[in-house]
Amino acid sequence: MPPIVAIALLFVGALGLYLLMPGARLSIRVVGGAVVLAAIAGLLAFSRMWIPDLGYLIPFATLAFVGLVGGIAMITVKQPVYSALFFVLVVICVTGLLVLSDAQFLAMGLLAIYAGAILVTYVFVIMLAQQGGTAAYDHTARTPLAGVIAGFLLLGALTSAILSGPVPDSAIPELPVEARGTVQNMGIELLTTYVVGIQLSGILLLSAMVGAIAIARRKAASNSDGLILEASD
């Protein structure tokens, strides 16, 4: 695909995304949504060039299309809870893409950590903070034109760099047995080559947990709860 075609498609997509931003009238947003869908479909239609195998192309294009549509819906829908649910859709599609690239353990981890743990926390915070339905600040976008232009410039630069770089072999490379992303292989890799990284990850997670508790409890110091010790600022 020549980079100029990709840039043109991305420009159409950016235009549709700008029309789709919250704050515009419903009829304009419907038009913007249709334009964005067409741009994504056009972009993915070119993946036939790099994936000649039809049995691989169909699941890839389906997952990528649903995932990108979920991403668009996530940043344009007004209700925060729907945003979080569309992000779950994005995570599920990314998980499918990881399975397609033989990263089964990572796909399972992503699904459990993101769709399971992180998203539940987000939905919990949304329900805690917004019990009265959508607020006024969910109905308008902040600097939609500048944001869409910034994203378009970044994506245009990235895409033209990717497309003008070296062209890899379009055949799927043979996967050695020890490079499959199974639990066994990942476990061996993590506990031999990357054992220090695993230890540091544990320290990082522990400190993040302690820090989150310390931050979230800061204002609760004035309560007469005997369990809370000195939480001075």
Partner: protein, 103 residues
């Protein structure tokens, strides 16, 4: 192969960036950073599976796993800060905090 994955990852990253800049709800802004992480994870795994030179290996997946650890830490700390800001101001509007001082 590789190029298709890279473009999908790049689009996910750019969508996250656009959402972060344009949304006003602090929670949605943090969700958009998570979507940028998704794009990066797609890229890393694709680089490991479809390398330009050499045979496929697991290093990209391990890198993506460490990225998950950082994303989980960031989500915990970010949400704690959002809850603190909400309790101080009663709003999740990012515009409320744009002057970086108390009202």
């Amino acid at each position: 192969m590789l190029i298709a994955y890279l473009i999908v990852g790049a689009v996910l990253f750019a969508l996250g960036l656009i959402g972060f800049v344009t949304r006003r709800n602090l929670i949605i802004m943090f969700l958009c950073t998570e979507m940028m992480f998704q794009g990066i994870i797609v890229n890393l795994v694709a680089f490991g599976r479809f390398p330009l030179v050499g045979a496929p290996d697991l290093h990209g997946q391990v890198f993506a796993l460490f990225l998950l650890v950082v994303a989980a830490s960031e989500a915990a700390l970010g949400l704690a800060l959002v809850v603190l800001l909400y309790r101080n101001s009663g709003t999740l509007d990012a515009n409320f905090w744009k002057q970086l001082r108390d009202h």
